[in-house]
Amino acid sequence: MNWGTVIWSAAASAGLTLAAIHLRIWFRKRTAWSNLFFSLLALATTANAGFELWMMRVGTVGQFARMFRWYQFSALGSIIFMVLFIRFHLRAGRAWLAWTVCLLRAVTVFLVFLIPTFNFRELTELRTIRFLGESVSVPVGEINPWSALSQVSLALVIVFVVDAAISTWRRGDRRLALVIGGSSAVAVIAGVTQVLLAFWQIVPMPMMLSLFNTIVVMAVGYELTREAVRAGQLVEDLRESETGLRSLYEGSAEGIFRSSVEGKLLFANPATAAILGYDSPEDAMASLVDSGRRIWASAEGRAEILERIEKEGFVRNHECRFTRKDGTALWVSLTIRPVRGPDGRPAYFYGFFENIDERKKAEEALETSRRLLAEIQKIGRTGGCELDLRTTTRTWTAETYEIFGLDPGYEPTLEDMGRFYTASSRAVFDRAMRRTIESGAPFDEDLEIVTGDGRLRSVHVRGRADPANHRIYTFFQDITERKKSEDEMAELRLERTHLARVLTVDQISSSLAHEINQPLGAILNNAEAVRILLAQGPGRVEDLPEIVDDIIQDAKRAGEVVRKVRSVLKKSEAQFWRLPANPLIDEALAISHNSLVLNSVILKQHLAPDLADIRGDPIRLQQVLLNLVTNALDAMKTVPAKILTVRSAMDGRDTVVISVGDSGPGIPEAQRATLFEPFYTTKKDGMGLGLAICRSIVEEHGGRIWTGNDPGGGAVFSFSLPAWRGA
C-alpha cells in the first residue's frame, strides 16, 4: 500500500458514495435533475479514478493503450455530466456552448475508437517513474496532432464553467457561484492543465483527472449536503408548526377544509365532519367526492361562490346554506380562498366555515315576527309605545308613527306622549296616565288627536303600567274610520227617526207659515193701500173695488192653505199595536243619546219592570217622547246641572204613566193651562205646535197629558196610556 493507491481509492469510493446518495434522492424526487446529474458525475469520477489507477499499474504498452481508450469514456461522462449539472443546478451557462462541448467530446471519443492512432500516433514504451512513493507507468510515444480536437473541447468546458459561474455571481447567487461555480472552474482548469502536461509528456506523471473531479464532487457534495441538513431543519420546523396547526384545526369549532376545484373534499378537520353530520373527517372526505353537488343546498350557491372568487379573489364571511349528511340544510358563514397554480388558475380551495344555523334561524324568526307584527299593526291601524320611567326612553312601533302622522325617522320626545291630543282628550289622557303610574290601573279610552300633519283622528288608547320594570305600555288604535261610520250611522238614524218624525212638525209648521204669510202680507199691503187712498179723498175711489176683491181672494187663499195642511196631516191614520212601553222609552233615549252627551246631560231612568203592555202606534208615541225630551233639553239650556229623569209606572191596573222631568226653571202656574194650546210657545224660534201635537196623539190613544213641577225643581211632563185589553 502506498499513497497513490490510497488517494485514488478514496476518490473512487467518495464518488461512489455520493453517487449512490444522490441517485436515491433523484429516485425519490424525479424532478431533481441536478441530483441525477451530480450522481452521474460522481459515478464518472469513480470510473476515472479506477481507470487512472489501473493505467498506473499496467505492464505493457498494449494494455495501456486499451485502458486509455476506455478511459476516454469515463472522461466524456465526467465532462458531459458536469456541464449538465452546472446548467441545471446553477441555472446558468450558455446552452450552445454546452451542446458544443458535449458533441465535440463525444465525436473525439468516437474517433478514438474508430482510429486507434487518434491520440498516440505510436506508443513506444512505458516508463516507470516514482510517484508518491510508488512505481507507476507513464506512456511514452508520438502524439497525434488530431488529438488537439479533444483538447479544444476541454478548453470549451473551461469557458462554459467560468461563464456560468460569472453569470451566477452577477445574478446575485454569490455563494452558489463561489462554491460550485468557483470550485468547478478551478478544478476544470487545474485538471485540464494536469492532463495536458501528462499527455504531452512535458512532465512525466500519471493522469489525475479524477482527483480534480473529486474536488468538484466534494464541493458540490458539501453544498448539497448542507441543503439537505437545512431541509432537515425545515422539516423539523414544519413538523413542529404542523403539530401546532393540527391541534388548532382539530380543536377548532369552525370547519376547516381543503377541496379541489371540482369540489372534492381533500382535507377536513373534525369540526367539518361534526357540523355537516359525518362520523369522521374520513367519512366526510369519502362521501363528499363531489361536494359541489352534495354539500351545497342549491346549485346557485356554489356558482355564486365561484363567481365571487373569480371576481374578488376570495370570499369572506359569506352566509350560505350547506347540506348535511342527513339531507337537512343549515346556514354557515363561509370564508374560502383559492390556492393558485403556476398558470394562475385556482388549483384548490382552502376555507373555513362556522355554523350560524341557530343564529340565522333566530334572526329569521325575529324577522318573521317583526314583519308579522308590522303587517298586523298596519292592517289593524294599531301602534304601541313603551316608556321607561327611569330613563324616559321611548320606543314606538312603526305603525305608531303612521297613526301620529310622523316621519318614520322622527325622534319622539317625552312631551310627545301627550302632545298630540286635543285639549279635552289631553285632560283625559293625563288623568289616566297619572292613575296608571300611581296605582298601576290600566286605562282604556277613546281619544282624539291632531296628527303631526294636521289631521284630526280618533284613537282608541289603552295603557298599562309595569311597575316591576318601571315601564308603561300604551296601545293605540286608529278608529277614525270606524268612528266616522258610527257617527254617520247615528246621524242617519237620527235623520230617519228624529228628523223624520219630530222635525217634520217644524217643517210642516214652517211651510204652513210661509203659505199663510204670503196672503197675509198681500192683505196687509192692500189694506194699507185702501187706507192711503181713502185718506187722499174721493178722487181715487174707483180703484177700491179691485183692491177689496184682492183682499177677499187672499183671505180665501189663506183659509185654503190651512184646510190643505189639515188634510195632509190627517192622511196618516194611527196604527195601534200591542206594545211593551219600556223598550219604546229605551229607543227614544237611544235616538236622543247624541244630544244628551253633547249637552252633558245626566240621564236618570226609573222604569218599572212589570209594566203592562199598552195599545199604541209606536211611531207616534216616539214622536211624543222625543218631543218631551227635546223640550226638556231646551228648558235646561241655561242651567249648569242638567238632569233628565225618565220614569214609567203603573197607575192602577189599566193605565201606564210615562213622565219626562228636567232640572230647568220649571213652569209658572199661570202658563200651565195654555201650554198644550197650539201656537203657544216660550221658544224664540218655535211655532208652539209640539205640545199641541203631543196632546192630540196622546188623546188619540185614549190617554191624557199633563204637567207639573218637580218638588226638587224643574218641570215634569207626564202622559198616561191605557193598557192593552185585547184587539
Partner: protein
C-alpha cells in the same frame, strides 16, 4: 232727492203679494214695478237704473239669492231688500251675507220698508 222719487223694483213669484206691494207704494205716489220672476226683471231693467230692488227669496227656477248673484255679475248698482214668507234666522243671515241692505219677513208694514230705505239714503248722503 226725496224718497218718493225713488223707484222700487219688486220681484216675487207670488202675484197677489207683488201686486199688492206695488199698489200700496203707488198709492203713496212712489213709482214701483212688479216682476213675476228673476228672468223678467233682468230682461226689463237695465243695470244702471237707480232705485231699490225688493226681492222674494223663494221663487222657482232662480231664487232671490240667485238673482242677487246675477245682479252682482251684471253690475246692477241698486240696493236689494230681501223679503220672505219664512221665519228662519238663517235666511236673514244669508241675505245680509249676500249683500242685501235689509231683510223683511212677510207680512211687513209699510213703515218697516220705509225705515230700511231711509237708513240707506242717510248712509248714502253721509258718504
Amino acid at each position: 232727492m226725496t224718497i218718493s222719487a225713488l223707484r222700487y223694483w219688486i220681484v216675487d213669484d207670488d202675484l197677489g203679494f207683488g201686486r199688492s206691494l206695488k199698489r200700496m207704494l203707488n198709492a203713496r205716489g212712489i213709482p214701483a214695478e212688479y216682476f213675476g220672476s228673476a228672468q223678467s226683471f233682468l230682461e226689463s231693467v237695465p243695470h244702471d237704473q237707480s232705485g231699490y230692488a225688493v226681492v222674494d227669496v223663494h221663487m222657482p227656477v232662480c231664487d232671490g239669492f240667485g238673482l242677487m248673484r246675477k245682479m252682482r255679475e251684471l253690475r246692477y248698482g241698486m240696493p236689494v231688500i230681501v223679503i220672505t214668507g219664512h221665519a228662519g234666522i238663517e235666511e236673514q243671515d244669508r241675505a245680509i251675507e249676500e249683500g242685501a241692505i235689509g231683510f223683511l219677513q212677510k207680512p211687513f208694514s209699510e213703515g218697516s220698508l220705509m225705515e230700511l230705505v231711509l237708513k240707506q239714503e242717510a248712509k248714502k248722503s253721509r258718504s
